[in-house]
Amino acid sequence: MSTDDQMSVEDRVRAATRAGASLINDVRPLDAPAPVRLRRRPGPGKRRWASWGGPLAAAAAVAAIALTLVAVRQGGSPAPATTGTGTAAPTAIPRYYVEPTYDIHAQRSGPLIVGDDRTGKAIATIAPPSGLAFNYAVATAEDETFVVEASVPTTPYGAPPFTWFLLRVTPGGARPYQLTRLPVRLPGNETYSRAFAVSPDGRELAVESSPGGAKAKPVTTVGIYSVATGVQLRAWTAPRQVMTELAAGHTLSWLRGGRQLAFNAATGPANRTQLRTLDVTGTGTDLIADSRAVFTADRPGMSSCRSLQVTPDGGTAICSTGVGPDPRSGPGCANGGLAFIAFSLTSSSQPGRVLYQYRGACADAESFTLWTDASGSAIIGMTRINTASRGEKNTFTVGVITGGRFRPLDIAKSVPADGYADLTF
Protein backbone atom coordinates (compact mmCIF):
# COMPACT_ATOMS: atom_id res chain seq x y z
CA MET A 1 0.00 0.00 0.00
CA SER A 2 1.44 3.38 -0.98
CA THR A 3 1.74 6.40 1.25
CA ASP A 4 -0.96 8.10 -0.79
CA ASP A 5 -3.33 5.25 -0.13
CA GLN A 6 -2.78 5.64 3.57
CA MET A 7 -3.53 9.36 3.57
CA SER A 8 -7.08 10.61 3.86
CA VAL A 9 -8.50 12.54 0.95
CA GLU A 10 -8.49 15.64 3.15
CA ASP A 11 -4.77 15.25 3.81
CA ARG A 12 -4.06 14.64 0.16
CA VAL A 13 -5.92 17.83 -0.68
CA ARG A 14 -3.93 19.75 1.92
CA ALA A 15 -0.63 18.41 0.64
CA ALA A 16 -1.43 18.95 -3.01
CA THR A 17 -2.82 22.47 -2.65
CA ARG A 18 0.16 23.57 -0.57
CA ALA A 19 2.56 22.07 -3.06
CA GLY A 20 0.67 23.74 -5.89
CA ALA A 21 0.63 27.09 -4.12
CA SER A 22 4.36 26.85 -3.49
CA LEU A 23 4.94 27.12 -7.24
CA ILE A 24 3.95 30.78 -7.02
CA ASN A 25 6.57 32.75 -5.16
CA ASP A 26 6.20 36.23 -6.53
CA VAL A 27 3.68 38.45 -8.24
CA ARG A 28 4.08 41.31 -10.60
CA PRO A 29 3.54 44.85 -9.27
CA LEU A 30 0.04 46.19 -9.23
CA ASP A 31 -0.82 47.87 -12.47
CA ALA A 32 -1.77 51.51 -12.26
CA PRO A 33 -5.50 52.08 -12.57
CA ALA A 34 -5.84 53.08 -16.16
CA PRO A 35 -7.57 56.33 -16.94
CA VAL A 36 -6.59 55.48 -20.48
CA ARG A 37 -9.39 53.59 -22.11
CA LEU A 38 -7.94 50.30 -23.16
CA ARG A 39 -9.81 47.63 -24.90
CA ARG A 40 -8.16 44.57 -26.31
CA ARG A 41 -6.71 46.33 -29.23
CA PRO A 42 -4.51 44.47 -31.64
CA GLY A 43 -1.05 45.69 -32.41
CA PRO A 44 -0.89 49.15 -33.83
CA GLY A 45 -1.10 49.59 -37.55
CA LYS A 46 1.73 48.65 -39.82
CA ARG A 47 1.93 50.67 -42.92
CA ARG A 48 3.64 53.15 -45.06
CA TRP A 49 6.98 51.53 -44.52
CA ALA A 50 6.67 49.87 -47.87
CA SER A 51 4.67 52.42 -49.73
CA TRP A 52 6.58 55.59 -49.02
CA GLY A 53 9.65 54.30 -50.73
CA GLY A 54 7.85 52.22 -53.29
CA PRO A 55 4.64 53.24 -54.96
CA LEU A 56 4.47 49.74 -56.41
CA ALA A 57 3.61 48.31 -53.03
CA ALA A 58 0.78 50.72 -52.56
CA ALA A 59 -0.41 50.15 -56.09
CA ALA A 60 -0.33 46.42 -55.52
CA ALA A 61 -2.37 46.83 -52.38
CA VAL A 62 -4.94 48.89 -54.18
CA ALA A 63 -5.05 46.49 -57.11
CA ALA A 64 -5.49 43.51 -54.86
CA ILE A 65 -8.31 44.99 -52.91
CA ALA A 66 -9.90 46.30 -56.08
CA LEU A 67 -10.31 42.75 -57.30
CA THR A 68 -13.42 42.59 -55.20
CA LEU A 69 -14.01 46.10 -54.09
CA VAL A 70 -14.62 49.12 -56.19
CA ALA A 71 -14.06 51.27 -53.16
CA VAL A 72 -10.33 51.53 -53.57
CA ARG A 73 -9.09 53.61 -56.40
CA GLN A 74 -5.75 53.36 -58.06
CA GLY A 75 -5.40 57.07 -57.73
CA GLY A 76 -4.82 56.96 -54.03
CA SER A 77 -1.32 58.01 -53.13
CA PRO A 78 0.51 58.69 -49.93
CA ALA A 79 0.03 62.18 -48.67
CA PRO A 80 3.01 64.39 -49.44
CA ALA A 81 4.76 65.44 -46.30
CA THR A 82 4.74 69.09 -47.12
CA THR A 83 1.08 69.46 -47.97
CA GLY A 84 -1.66 70.36 -45.55
CA THR A 85 -2.83 73.51 -43.96
CA GLY A 86 -1.82 72.83 -40.40
CA THR A 87 1.40 72.13 -38.58
CA ALA A 88 4.09 70.73 -40.84
CA ALA A 89 4.93 67.11 -40.18
CA PRO A 90 8.13 65.31 -41.05
CA THR A 91 8.34 63.06 -44.04
CA ALA A 92 6.82 59.60 -43.79
CA ILE A 93 4.65 60.31 -40.79
CA PRO A 94 1.09 59.15 -41.48
CA ARG A 95 -1.37 61.95 -41.96
CA TYR A 96 -4.68 60.19 -41.42
CA TYR A 97 -5.81 58.21 -38.41
CA VAL A 98 -8.95 56.49 -37.18
CA GLU A 99 -10.35 56.04 -33.70
CA PRO A 100 -13.08 53.49 -32.90
CA THR A 101 -14.62 55.40 -30.03
CA TYR A 102 -15.89 53.67 -26.93
CA ASP A 103 -17.69 55.04 -23.90
CA ILE A 104 -15.99 53.25 -21.02
CA HIS A 105 -18.62 54.38 -18.53
CA ALA A 106 -21.58 53.29 -20.64
CA GLN A 107 -19.56 50.33 -21.97
CA ARG A 108 -20.83 51.10 -25.42
CA SER A 109 -19.09 51.48 -28.73
CA GLY A 110 -19.48 54.73 -30.54
CA PRO A 111 -18.76 55.96 -34.04
CA LEU A 112 -15.48 55.70 -35.87
CA ILE A 113 -13.71 59.03 -36.14
CA VAL A 114 -11.35 59.71 -39.02
CA GLY A 115 -8.90 62.54 -38.49
CA ASP A 116 -6.10 64.45 -40.13
CA ASP A 117 -3.06 65.16 -37.97
CA ARG A 118 -1.89 67.96 -40.26
CA THR A 119 -5.02 70.03 -39.83
CA GLY A 120 -6.01 68.78 -36.39
CA LYS A 121 -9.53 68.22 -37.61
CA ALA A 122 -11.86 65.28 -38.02
CA ILE A 123 -12.62 64.28 -41.59
CA ALA A 124 -15.53 61.99 -40.92
CA THR A 125 -17.56 60.47 -38.13
CA ILE A 126 -18.86 57.08 -39.19
CA ALA A 127 -21.69 55.26 -37.47
CA PRO A 128 -21.34 51.46 -37.42
CA PRO A 129 -23.51 49.43 -39.78
CA SER A 130 -26.82 48.34 -38.30
CA GLY A 131 -26.47 45.67 -35.64
CA LEU A 132 -22.70 45.99 -35.42
CA ALA A 133 -20.15 47.82 -33.32
CA PHE A 134 -16.69 48.85 -34.41
CA ASN A 135 -13.98 47.11 -32.43
CA TYR A 136 -10.59 47.97 -33.84
CA ALA A 137 -8.87 49.29 -36.90
CA VAL A 138 -5.54 48.58 -38.53
CA ALA A 139 -3.73 50.51 -41.18
CA THR A 140 -2.85 49.29 -44.64
CA ALA A 141 0.04 50.17 -46.87
CA GLU A 142 -1.75 53.30 -47.95
CA ASP A 143 -2.34 56.28 -45.74
CA GLU A 144 -5.97 56.74 -46.74
CA THR A 145 -6.97 53.10 -46.35
CA PHE A 146 -7.76 51.16 -43.18
CA VAL A 147 -9.36 47.84 -42.31
CA VAL A 148 -11.90 48.04 -39.51
CA GLU A 149 -13.24 45.13 -37.49
CA ALA A 150 -16.83 45.04 -36.32
CA SER A 151 -18.89 42.51 -34.42
CA VAL A 152 -22.14 42.08 -32.56
CA PRO A 153 -22.09 44.67 -29.78
CA THR A 154 -21.77 43.04 -26.39
CA THR A 155 -19.81 44.08 -23.33
CA PRO A 156 -17.00 44.15 -22.70
CA TYR A 157 -15.99 42.41 -25.92
CA GLY A 158 -17.68 41.98 -29.24
CA ALA A 159 -19.38 38.70 -30.04
CA PRO A 160 -19.21 36.64 -33.24
CA PRO A 161 -19.62 36.84 -36.11
CA PHE A 162 -16.69 39.16 -36.70
CA THR A 163 -16.72 41.20 -39.86
CA TRP A 164 -14.12 43.38 -41.53
CA PHE A 165 -14.62 46.49 -43.57
CA LEU A 166 -12.34 48.36 -45.88
CA LEU A 167 -12.37 52.04 -45.03
CA ARG A 168 -11.20 54.34 -47.75
CA VAL A 169 -10.79 57.98 -46.76
CA THR A 170 -11.30 60.51 -49.55
CA PRO A 171 -10.64 63.95 -48.10
CA GLY A 172 -12.14 66.65 -50.23
CA GLY A 173 -14.27 64.18 -52.15
CA ALA A 174 -18.03 64.27 -52.47
CA ARG A 175 -18.09 61.66 -49.74
CA PRO A 176 -15.27 61.81 -47.24
CA TYR A 177 -15.10 58.05 -46.91
CA GLN A 178 -16.21 54.72 -48.35
CA LEU A 179 -16.86 51.70 -46.16
CA THR A 180 -17.01 48.32 -47.88
CA ARG A 181 -17.52 44.94 -46.28
CA LEU A 182 -14.77 42.37 -46.94
CA PRO A 183 -15.70 38.74 -47.64
CA VAL A 184 -13.49 37.37 -44.85
CA ARG A 185 -15.29 35.13 -42.36
CA LEU A 186 -13.77 33.13 -39.56
CA PRO A 187 -14.51 29.41 -39.59
CA GLY A 188 -17.11 28.29 -37.05
CA ASN A 189 -20.10 30.12 -35.69
CA GLU A 190 -18.50 31.15 -32.42
CA THR A 191 -14.96 32.09 -33.31
CA TYR A 192 -13.54 35.19 -31.71
CA SER A 193 -11.05 37.48 -33.39
CA ARG A 194 -8.31 38.65 -31.08
CA ALA A 195 -5.99 40.53 -33.42
CA PHE A 196 -5.59 41.13 -37.12
CA ALA A 197 -3.19 42.76 -39.56
CA VAL A 198 -3.17 43.50 -43.27
CA SER A 199 -0.25 42.27 -45.36
CA PRO A 200 2.00 44.91 -46.91
CA ASP A 201 0.64 44.17 -50.38
CA GLY A 202 -2.93 44.43 -49.15
CA ARG A 203 -3.87 41.01 -50.46
CA GLU A 204 -4.08 39.11 -47.19
CA LEU A 205 -5.56 39.55 -43.78
CA ALA A 206 -3.93 37.72 -40.87
CA VAL A 207 -6.32 37.02 -38.00
CA GLU A 208 -5.52 35.53 -34.62
CA SER A 209 -8.61 33.75 -33.31
CA SER A 210 -9.92 31.40 -30.69
CA PRO A 211 -13.03 29.26 -30.94
CA GLY A 212 -16.00 29.70 -28.64
CA GLY A 213 -18.81 27.28 -27.92
CA ALA A 214 -19.32 24.87 -25.07
CA LYS A 215 -17.38 22.02 -26.62
CA ALA A 216 -14.65 23.95 -28.37
CA LYS A 217 -11.03 23.14 -27.72
CA PRO A 218 -9.09 26.12 -26.38
CA VAL A 219 -6.79 26.41 -29.36
CA THR A 220 -5.18 29.49 -30.84
CA THR A 221 -5.21 29.88 -34.59
CA VAL A 222 -3.44 32.39 -36.77
CA GLY A 223 -5.03 32.27 -40.19
CA ILE A 224 -4.25 34.11 -43.39
CA TYR A 225 -7.27 35.01 -45.49
CA SER A 226 -7.54 36.33 -49.00
CA VAL A 227 -8.87 39.87 -48.91
CA ALA A 228 -10.31 39.37 -52.38
CA THR A 229 -12.18 36.11 -51.81
CA GLY A 230 -12.25 35.59 -48.06
CA VAL A 231 -10.78 32.11 -48.46
CA GLN A 232 -8.47 30.92 -45.71
CA LEU A 233 -5.10 30.41 -47.37
CA ARG A 234 -2.97 29.22 -44.46
CA ALA A 235 -3.47 28.46 -40.80
CA TRP A 236 -1.25 27.67 -37.83
CA THR A 237 -2.60 26.43 -34.55
CA ALA A 238 -1.39 25.97 -31.01
CA PRO A 239 -3.13 23.32 -28.91
CA ARG A 240 -3.88 25.78 -26.16
CA GLN A 241 -4.27 29.47 -25.54
CA VAL A 242 -0.74 30.76 -25.77
CA MET A 243 -1.29 34.40 -26.54
CA THR A 244 -0.60 36.91 -23.84
CA GLU A 245 -2.07 40.31 -23.53
CA LEU A 246 0.04 43.33 -22.90
CA ALA A 247 -1.71 46.42 -21.64
CA ALA A 248 -2.17 47.43 -25.24
CA GLY A 249 -3.42 44.03 -26.34
CA HIS A 250 -1.84 41.66 -28.78
CA THR A 251 1.03 42.04 -31.12
CA LEU A 252 0.23 40.70 -34.56
CA SER A 253 2.08 42.25 -37.44
CA TRP A 254 3.56 41.48 -40.80
CA LEU A 255 7.32 41.71 -41.20
CA ARG A 256 9.91 41.59 -43.93
CA GLY A 257 7.66 42.43 -46.82
CA GLY A 258 4.98 39.92 -45.84
CA ARG A 259 7.26 36.91 -45.40
CA GLN A 260 6.85 36.76 -41.64
CA LEU A 261 4.26 37.36 -38.96
CA ALA A 262 5.14 38.50 -35.47
CA PHE A 263 3.01 37.68 -32.45
CA ASN A 264 3.43 37.59 -28.71
CA ALA A 265 2.91 34.48 -26.63
CA ALA A 266 3.49 33.14 -23.15
CA THR A 267 5.76 30.29 -24.05
CA GLY A 268 9.05 31.09 -22.45
CA PRO A 269 10.48 30.23 -19.05
CA ALA A 270 8.05 31.16 -16.26
CA ASN A 271 5.52 31.95 -18.98
CA ARG A 272 7.21 35.23 -19.77
CA THR A 273 5.94 37.11 -22.77
CA GLN A 274 7.92 36.24 -25.83
CA LEU A 275 7.85 37.87 -29.18
CA ARG A 276 7.86 35.17 -31.84
CA THR A 277 8.16 35.28 -35.59
CA LEU A 278 6.52 32.88 -38.00
CA ASP A 279 7.75 32.29 -41.54
CA VAL A 280 4.57 32.28 -43.58
CA THR A 281 6.38 30.85 -46.60
CA GLY A 282 7.21 27.66 -44.70
CA THR A 283 5.23 24.45 -44.81
CA GLY A 284 4.35 23.88 -41.16
CA THR A 285 1.04 24.36 -39.36
CA ASP A 286 2.19 24.44 -35.74
CA LEU A 287 2.11 27.96 -34.39
CA ILE A 288 4.76 27.35 -31.76
CA ALA A 289 6.98 24.69 -33.31
CA ASP A 290 7.15 26.52 -36.62
CA SER A 291 7.85 29.92 -35.09
CA ARG A 292 10.82 31.09 -33.11
CA ALA A 293 11.25 33.36 -30.11
CA VAL A 294 13.17 36.51 -30.95
CA PHE A 295 12.64 38.57 -27.81
CA THR A 296 11.56 38.13 -24.20
CA ALA A 297 9.55 41.12 -23.15
CA ASP A 298 9.32 40.92 -19.39
CA ARG A 299 12.66 39.53 -18.39
CA PRO A 300 14.07 40.33 -14.95
CA GLY A 301 15.48 43.81 -14.59
CA MET A 302 13.50 45.13 -17.50
CA SER A 303 10.50 47.41 -17.22
CA SER A 304 7.36 45.67 -18.36
CA CYS A 305 6.16 46.74 -21.77
CA ARG A 306 2.77 48.42 -22.01
CA SER A 307 2.99 47.94 -25.75
CA LEU A 308 5.39 45.91 -27.84
CA GLN A 309 5.75 46.90 -31.45
CA VAL A 310 7.96 45.23 -34.04
CA THR A 311 9.38 47.37 -36.80
CA PRO A 312 8.32 46.18 -40.26
CA ASP A 313 11.91 45.33 -41.18
CA GLY A 314 11.84 42.78 -38.36
CA GLY A 315 14.99 44.19 -36.82
CA THR A 316 13.70 45.98 -33.75
CA ALA A 317 11.15 45.57 -30.95
CA ILE A 318 9.90 48.81 -29.44
CA CYS A 319 8.81 48.56 -25.84
CA SER A 320 6.89 51.42 -24.29
CA THR A 321 6.99 51.49 -20.51
CA GLY A 322 5.01 53.04 -17.68
CA VAL A 323 5.36 54.24 -14.12
CA GLY A 324 3.07 52.82 -11.47
CA PRO A 325 1.89 54.51 -8.29
CA ASP A 326 4.14 52.30 -6.19
CA PRO A 327 7.63 53.86 -6.07
CA ARG A 328 9.13 50.43 -5.34
CA SER A 329 7.81 48.93 -8.55
CA GLY A 330 10.41 50.59 -10.77
CA PRO A 331 12.04 53.86 -11.71
CA GLY A 332 9.81 56.90 -11.46
CA CYS A 333 9.29 59.44 -14.20
CA ALA A 334 12.21 61.60 -13.06
CA ASN A 335 14.48 58.58 -13.48
CA GLY A 336 13.28 57.77 -16.95
CA GLY A 337 10.66 55.18 -16.06
CA LEU A 338 8.42 56.43 -18.86
CA ALA A 339 10.24 55.60 -22.06
CA PHE A 340 10.14 54.21 -25.54
CA ILE A 341 13.00 51.72 -25.85
CA ALA A 342 14.19 49.92 -28.98
CA PHE A 343 15.68 46.45 -28.64
CA SER A 344 17.62 44.85 -31.45
CA LEU A 345 16.18 41.52 -32.59
CA THR A 346 19.32 40.64 -34.48
CA SER A 347 21.77 41.02 -31.61
CA SER A 348 20.49 39.95 -28.22
CA SER A 349 23.63 41.22 -26.50
CA GLN A 350 22.89 44.85 -27.28
CA PRO A 351 21.17 46.85 -24.56
CA GLY A 352 18.00 48.71 -25.31
CA ARG A 353 18.32 52.00 -27.16
CA VAL A 354 16.23 54.75 -25.63
CA LEU A 355 14.20 56.52 -28.30
CA TYR A 356 12.59 58.92 -25.88
CA GLN A 357 12.55 59.28 -22.14
CA TYR A 358 10.28 61.55 -20.14
CA ARG A 359 12.23 63.21 -17.34
CA GLY A 360 9.61 65.38 -15.72
CA ALA A 361 7.80 64.67 -12.50
CA CYS A 362 4.76 62.45 -12.32
CA ALA A 363 2.71 60.44 -9.88
CA ASP A 364 2.15 57.74 -12.46
CA ALA A 365 2.29 57.49 -16.23
CA GLU A 366 2.10 55.12 -19.17
CA SER A 367 2.98 55.03 -22.83
CA PHE A 368 2.00 53.17 -25.99
CA THR A 369 3.54 52.91 -29.43
CA LEU A 370 0.93 53.62 -32.08
CA TRP A 371 3.02 53.46 -35.26
CA THR A 372 6.59 52.90 -36.35
CA ASP A 373 8.44 53.37 -39.59
CA ALA A 374 10.43 50.55 -41.15
CA SER A 375 13.32 50.61 -38.70
CA GLY A 376 12.04 52.50 -35.67
CA SER A 377 13.86 55.73 -36.48
CA ALA A 378 10.52 57.54 -36.29
CA ILE A 379 7.55 56.39 -34.26
CA ILE A 380 4.24 57.79 -33.10
CA GLY A 381 3.69 57.36 -29.39
CA MET A 382 1.06 58.22 -26.85
CA THR A 383 1.67 59.16 -23.24
CA ARG A 384 -0.55 59.67 -20.23
CA ILE A 385 1.20 61.58 -17.48
CA ASN A 386 -0.43 62.21 -14.14
CA THR A 387 1.32 65.21 -12.64
CA ALA A 388 -0.86 65.73 -9.60
CA SER A 389 0.86 65.00 -6.32
CA ARG A 390 -2.57 64.27 -4.89
CA GLY A 391 -5.48 63.10 -6.97
CA GLU A 392 -5.27 62.83 -10.72
CA LYS A 393 -4.47 65.41 -13.33
CA ASN A 394 -3.73 63.53 -16.50
CA THR A 395 -2.23 64.92 -19.65
CA PHE A 396 -2.73 62.79 -22.75
CA THR A 397 -0.42 63.46 -25.64
CA VAL A 398 0.15 61.87 -29.04
CA GLY A 399 3.37 62.76 -30.76
CA VAL A 400 6.12 61.89 -33.18
CA ILE A 401 9.30 60.57 -31.61
CA THR A 402 12.44 60.99 -33.59
CA GLY A 403 15.97 61.99 -32.66
CA GLY A 404 15.16 61.72 -28.97
CA ARG A 405 12.43 64.34 -29.19
CA PHE A 406 8.69 64.09 -28.72
CA ARG A 407 6.79 66.44 -30.97
CA PRO A 408 3.05 66.54 -30.25
CA LEU A 409 0.61 65.90 -33.06
CA ASP A 410 -2.63 67.80 -33.43
CA ILE A 411 -5.47 65.34 -32.81
CA ALA A 412 -9.06 66.33 -33.49
CA LYS A 413 -10.95 67.55 -30.45
CA SER A 414 -13.79 65.13 -31.11
CA VAL A 415 -11.45 62.23 -30.31
CA PRO A 416 -11.66 61.55 -26.57
CA ALA A 417 -8.21 62.00 -25.03
CA ASP A 418 -8.60 58.91 -22.86
CA GLY A 419 -9.02 56.92 -26.04
CA TYR A 420 -5.75 57.97 -27.65
CA ALA A 421 -4.29 54.52 -27.00
CA ASP A 422 -6.73 53.14 -29.58
CA LEU A 423 -5.68 55.53 -32.33
CA THR A 424 -4.56 53.80 -35.51
CA PHE A 425 -2.18 55.66 -37.81
Binding site: V9, E10, A16, G20, A21, I24, P33, P218, D326
Partner: protein, 171 residues
Protein backbone atom coordinates in the same frame (compact mmCIF):
# COMPACT_ATOMS: atom_id res chain seq x y z
CA UNK B 1 -21.74 55.26 7.09
CA UNK B 2 -19.81 55.94 3.95
CA UNK B 3 -16.28 57.12 4.44
CA UNK B 4 -15.26 60.53 3.26
CA UNK B 5 -13.92 60.52 -0.27
CA UNK B 6 -10.15 60.23 -0.21
CA UNK B 7 -7.74 61.73 -2.68
CA UNK B 8 -6.83 59.20 -5.32
CA UNK B 9 -3.17 59.32 -4.33
CA UNK B 10 -3.88 58.24 -0.74
CA UNK B 11 -6.23 55.59 -2.00
CA UNK B 12 -3.57 54.26 -4.34
CA UNK B 13 -1.03 54.06 -1.54
CA UNK B 14 -3.38 52.13 0.72
CA UNK B 15 -4.39 49.74 -2.02
CA UNK B 16 -0.80 49.26 -3.09
CA UNK B 17 0.11 48.40 0.49
CA UNK B 18 -2.71 45.88 0.65
CA UNK B 19 -1.59 44.42 -2.64
CA UNK B 20 1.98 44.02 -1.51
CA UNK B 21 0.88 42.28 1.65
CA UNK B 22 -1.78 39.98 0.25
CA UNK B 23 -1.50 39.60 -3.52
CA UNK B 24 0.71 36.53 -3.38
CA UNK B 25 -1.83 34.65 -1.27
CA UNK B 26 -4.65 35.60 -3.58
CA UNK B 27 -2.70 34.61 -6.68
CA UNK B 28 -1.96 31.24 -5.13
CA UNK B 29 -5.63 30.78 -4.35
CA UNK B 30 -6.65 31.71 -7.88
CA UNK B 31 -3.92 29.50 -9.31
CA UNK B 32 -5.23 26.50 -7.38
CA UNK B 33 -8.71 27.23 -8.68
CA UNK B 34 -7.81 27.86 -12.29
CA UNK B 35 -4.50 26.09 -12.84
CA UNK B 36 -3.25 28.98 -14.89
CA UNK B 37 -0.78 31.49 -13.47
CA UNK B 38 -1.30 34.38 -15.92
CA UNK B 39 -5.05 34.08 -15.46
CA UNK B 40 -4.62 33.97 -11.68
CA UNK B 41 -2.47 37.10 -11.75
CA UNK B 42 -4.93 38.86 -14.02
CA UNK B 43 -7.83 37.99 -11.73
CA UNK B 44 -6.03 39.40 -8.70
CA UNK B 45 -4.98 42.51 -10.60
CA UNK B 46 -8.57 43.02 -11.71
CA UNK B 47 -9.80 42.54 -8.16
CA UNK B 48 -7.45 45.18 -6.78
CA UNK B 49 -8.20 47.57 -9.61
CA UNK B 50 -11.89 47.00 -8.82
CA UNK B 51 -11.09 47.84 -5.22
CA UNK B 52 -9.50 51.06 -6.42
CA UNK B 53 -12.66 52.00 -8.27
CA UNK B 54 -14.95 51.10 -5.39
CA UNK B 55 -12.81 52.31 -2.52
CA UNK B 56 -14.96 55.32 -1.79
CA UNK B 57 -18.10 53.21 -1.76
CA UNK B 58 -16.78 50.66 0.68
CA UNK B 59 -18.79 51.00 3.86
CA UNK B 60 -16.02 49.44 5.90
CA UNK B 61 -12.51 49.74 4.46
CA UNK B 62 -11.51 46.99 6.87
CA UNK B 63 -13.45 44.63 4.67
CA UNK B 64 -11.36 45.43 1.64
CA UNK B 65 -9.69 42.03 1.71
CA UNK B 66 -13.04 40.28 1.92
CA UNK B 67 -14.08 42.27 -1.11
CA UNK B 68 -10.95 41.27 -2.99
CA UNK B 69 -11.37 37.61 -2.03
CA UNK B 70 -14.96 37.68 -3.28
CA UNK B 71 -13.81 39.25 -6.53
CA UNK B 72 -11.14 36.59 -6.99
CA UNK B 73 -13.57 33.77 -6.29
CA UNK B 74 -16.13 35.32 -8.61
CA UNK B 75 -13.44 35.73 -11.22
CA UNK B 76 -12.46 32.07 -10.90
CA UNK B 77 -16.08 31.06 -11.38
CA UNK B 78 -16.30 33.33 -14.38
CA UNK B 79 -13.18 31.78 -15.84
CA UNK B 80 -14.82 28.38 -15.75
CA UNK B 81 -18.16 29.70 -16.90
CA UNK B 82 -16.78 31.47 -19.93
CA UNK B 83 -13.81 29.29 -20.63
CA UNK B 84 -15.25 28.17 -23.90
CA UNK B 85 -17.03 31.34 -24.72
CA UNK B 86 -14.77 34.33 -24.35
CA UNK B 87 -11.23 34.40 -25.50
CA UNK B 88 -9.94 36.56 -22.67
CA UNK B 89 -9.71 33.71 -20.24
CA UNK B 90 -8.50 30.39 -21.47
CA UNK B 91 -7.84 27.51 -19.19
CA UNK B 92 -5.28 24.99 -20.16
CA UNK B 93 -4.87 21.47 -19.05
CA UNK B 94 -2.37 21.40 -16.20
CA UNK B 95 -0.06 19.26 -18.28
CA UNK B 96 0.25 22.06 -20.74
CA UNK B 97 1.19 24.83 -18.38
CA UNK B 98 3.55 23.12 -16.00
CA UNK B 99 7.23 23.37 -16.58
CA UNK B 100 9.45 20.37 -16.06
CA UNK B 101 10.59 21.98 -12.83
CA UNK B 102 7.02 22.39 -11.61
CA UNK B 103 6.24 18.79 -12.42
CA UNK B 104 9.25 17.66 -10.45
CA UNK B 105 8.32 19.83 -7.48
CA UNK B 106 4.71 18.76 -7.42
CA UNK B 107 5.12 15.06 -7.89
CA UNK B 108 2.69 12.76 -9.64
CA UNK B 109 0.37 12.30 -6.69
CA UNK B 110 -0.12 16.02 -6.05
CA UNK B 111 -0.62 16.72 -9.73
CA UNK B 112 -3.37 14.14 -9.84
CA UNK B 113 -5.10 15.72 -6.86
CA UNK B 114 -4.86 19.23 -8.29
CA UNK B 115 -6.19 18.07 -11.63
CA UNK B 116 -9.08 16.36 -9.88
CA UNK B 117 -9.86 19.49 -7.85
CA UNK B 118 -10.12 21.50 -11.05
CA UNK B 119 -12.63 19.03 -12.42
CA UNK B 120 -14.98 19.54 -9.49
CA UNK B 121 -18.08 21.69 -9.88
CA UNK B 122 -17.33 25.30 -8.91
CA UNK B 123 -19.03 25.27 -5.53
CA UNK B 124 -17.43 22.01 -4.48
CA UNK B 125 -14.05 23.19 -5.67
CA UNK B 126 -14.30 26.42 -3.72
CA UNK B 127 -15.47 24.68 -0.59
CA UNK B 128 -12.68 22.11 -0.70
CA UNK B 129 -9.95 24.68 -1.37
CA UNK B 130 -11.17 27.15 1.24
CA UNK B 131 -11.58 24.43 3.87
CA UNK B 132 -8.39 22.45 3.28
CA UNK B 133 -5.98 24.90 1.71
CA UNK B 134 -6.91 28.05 3.59
CA UNK B 135 -8.07 26.01 6.58
CA UNK B 136 -11.21 28.11 6.90
CA UNK B 137 -13.94 27.05 9.25
CA UNK B 138 -17.31 26.24 7.74
CA UNK B 139 -18.58 29.62 8.88
CA UNK B 140 -15.64 31.46 7.33
CA UNK B 141 -15.97 29.55 4.07
CA UNK B 142 -19.69 30.25 4.00
CA UNK B 143 -19.01 33.94 4.38
CA UNK B 144 -16.34 33.93 1.67
CA UNK B 145 -18.54 31.98 -0.73
CA UNK B 146 -21.68 33.92 0.11
CA UNK B 147 -23.64 30.78 0.91
CA UNK B 148 -25.11 29.13 3.99
CA UNK B 149 -22.98 27.06 6.32
CA UNK B 150 -24.96 23.96 5.43
CA UNK B 151 -24.16 24.51 1.78
CA UNK B 152 -20.46 24.56 2.56
CA UNK B 153 -20.81 21.38 4.54
CA UNK B 154 -22.62 19.51 1.80
CA UNK B 155 -20.39 20.91 -0.96
CA UNK B 156 -17.28 19.90 0.94
CA UNK B 157 -18.60 16.43 1.58
CA UNK B 158 -19.60 15.90 -2.02
CA UNK B 159 -16.38 17.37 -3.25
CA UNK B 160 -14.26 15.04 -1.15
CA UNK B 161 -16.31 12.06 -2.23
CA UNK B 162 -15.91 13.04 -5.86
CA UNK B 163 -12.19 13.51 -5.41
CA UNK B 164 -11.82 10.11 -3.80
CA UNK B 165 -13.70 8.59 -6.71
CA UNK B 166 -11.65 10.40 -9.34
CA UNK B 167 -8.36 9.54 -7.70
CA UNK B 168 -9.35 5.91 -7.41
CA UNK B 169 -10.34 5.79 -11.08
CA UNK B 170 -7.08 7.45 -12.05
CA UNK B 171 -4.99 4.65 -10.58
Amino acid sequence: MTQARQPAHDRSQQITALYQAHALGFVRLAFLMTGDRPTAEDLVQDAFLGLHRRWDALVDPGKALSYVRSCVLNGCREVYRVRYRRPKFRLDQPEDIESAEDIAILGEANRAVLAAIRRLPARQREAVVLRYYLEMSEDQAAQAMGVARGTVKSATSRGLAALARMLKEAK
